[in-house]
């Protein structure tokens, strides 16, 4: 078991020496960019993995993740508004992203709710619709503000190439720190997530404050995803497939699944980034790679689990 973890961490580290189409001994200044990419990639992949796992547990639904639930797109929309109104380097950016994410998840909840229950298929449907809605809104805002379509692409499809100025460094570090703290919180509640994943009523009878936990997981999940998405744009499928892969190895216990999803999500995202940067023409968004792997997996899930 531990071997697998070592492998995952090693893949993350190995990538450290690989990115970019250049040789290994580069001048010191290029290292800055690589480290930055790596840190952002680890946080982004890790966050998406953990939140995906937590949401799947909370909703007892193997088909949800930050992207299919609309959270990532909502955050990207918030970020778009901030960037377009010229406040992309201030604290407005993460806040706008958070509000966008909350809005998205609120809408999904509203659409999918049926009596007191959140049925699997309705949830996935509502999530995909909301995701699409916010993607379109991003496009709309970009076109109305007469910017290039490339910017919309990056926001909706993801990229680790964040340009950081001295003033926005603090913002970036703060966001990533918040994201990691949020992940920690989710991992902290691993056992309660286990119980909720059985059945809401049973969870109540076992002493879990189900409504409160549900709300808080949604809130923390939205916050954490937003903290990452406002910098990298919305990256899909990591949150969906990574927890499943980890469950296949370790079983469904969240105390193992959540940390495992963090590491595997980080590793996979970094590897995808390395692939995109070295093997494809410039500017290919990360989501293309993650979708190429993720979509067949999603179909497999649909056929076996639903």
């Amino acid at each position: 078991m531990g071997i697998v973890f070592v492998f995952l961490s090693a893949s993350v580290l190995a990538v450290f020496t690989g990115p970019g189409g250049f040789s290994l001994n580069e001048a010191g200044d290029l290292l800055v960019f690589r480290v930055l990419r790596l840190v952002i990639g680890i946080c982004a992949g890790g966050v998406l993995g953990v939140v995906g796992g937590a949401l799947q547990g909370l909703l007892s639904n193997p088909l949800v993740d930050p992207w299919t639930l609309g959270v990532a797109s909502g955050a990207a929309f918030g970020a778009t508004l901030a960037i377009v109104s010229g406040m992309g380097s201030s604290v407005v950016l993460p806040i706008a992203g958070f509000i966008g994410a909350l809005l998205a998840i609120g809408l999904v909840y509203l659409f999918a709710r049926n009596g007191g229950v959140l049925p699997v298929t309705r949830l996935v449907l509502a999530g995909v619709v909301v995701s699409f809605l916010f993607s379109s809104l991003v496009m709309l805002v970009i076109v109305l503000s007469r910017r290039t379509i490339g910017e919309a692409v990056y926001l909706m499809m993801g990229s680790l190439g964040v340009v950081v100025t001295k003033s926005s460094v603090r913002m970036l570090v703060g966001s990533l720190f918040l994201a990691l703290v949020g992940c920690g919180w989710l991992i902290f509640h691993a056992r309660e997530l286990d119980i909720i994943s059985f059945n809401e009523e049973v969870a109540l009878s076992l002493g879990v404050d189900t409504p409160r936990l549900t709300r808080t997981v949604f809130l923390v999940g939205s916050l954490v995803v937003a903290m990452v998405v406002v910098w990298t744009g919305a990256i899909g499928f990591i949150g969906l497939i990574v927890p499943h892969l980890v469950r296949m190895i370790f079983g469904p216990r969240h105390s193992l699944v959540l940390p495992g999803s963090f590491l595997l999500g980080a590793g996979l995202l970094i590897m995808a980034d390395v692939a995109v940067r070295n093997l494809t023409p410039s500017g290919l968004p990360l989501s293309v790679v993650t979708a190429l792997i993720g979509v067949p997996f999603f179909i497999y899930l649909l056929r076996t689990k639903v």
Binding site: G20, F22, A27, D29, L30, V32, F33, R34, L36, I83, G86, G88, S89, R147, T148, G150, E151, Y154, S159, G161, V163, V164, T165, K166, S167, V169, R277, P281, S282, G283
Partner: protein, 288 residues
Amino acid sequence: MIDYRGVDSVKIGWLLMALVLVLGGCPNGSVKEEAVHRGARDVRCVSLVPSITEIIYALNAQALLLGTTNQCDYPAEAKMVYKVGDFQTPDLERIVALKPTVVFATVPMHARLIEKLKEMKIRVYISEPVDIASVFTEIESVGAILKREERTRHLVDSLRQWLSMLPVFADTPRVYIEISAIPLMSVGSGVFINDLIRQAGGVNIFEDVKQPYPIVESEAVVKRNPAVILILHPGASAQDVRERVGWQDVIAVQKGRVFDGLDEDLFSRPGPRVVEGIYLLARILHSR
């Protein structure tokens, strides 16, 4: 700088006639041409391309111009012309309602529209200049369509002459052109501004990239170490660029040769202001 706006064609006509009398020849009945076509309205045009709108005004043929796009904003009078929509999405109905005899469009932006116009048997002039030489050719073509040959020749000759007066430069600084900050986007091959830069005595660091508007990494920019940075978008100021983490070792940043607040139209519109653009670029690239 030559002011080719508002020059009375009548005056030119008389001048030429005087020249003719002096030189003892009557070349091509140009006086008659001008007289005939100043009053003739048989050419009715719609311009979907801002640079061509500029050309039309430079040739003093704006009387023939029925419609332009929202982005046709130079010269100032062009803003008052009836608008048929955005440059990106002009309205076919509005264009057709004006009953034009020729429509100026460009590819690939207007590809579909052009097909529709051709189906409706409306003449379309397709503009795709890629360098300075083709800009001059384009001015000539447009002038021919609008039957302003004299004026055209005058304009093109003076532009050519002005361009030839550009000095030879000692060095060829590498230039990084930024058209977006989030994400980082630059200019690749096949884009008009590359030729402008070359004429101004510089070279675009991403000229070798096949995509016209590639998304680039900070790493790539820093590695190619440009001597001059041009910010052609409102999303970042020169100060912002100087503060970018990891960019401190770029020559342009070290020597403070980062320029923002430039009029992008001067560099992106393949119209009569190109030479002005080149001179401006030359000043920026080679100043100390």
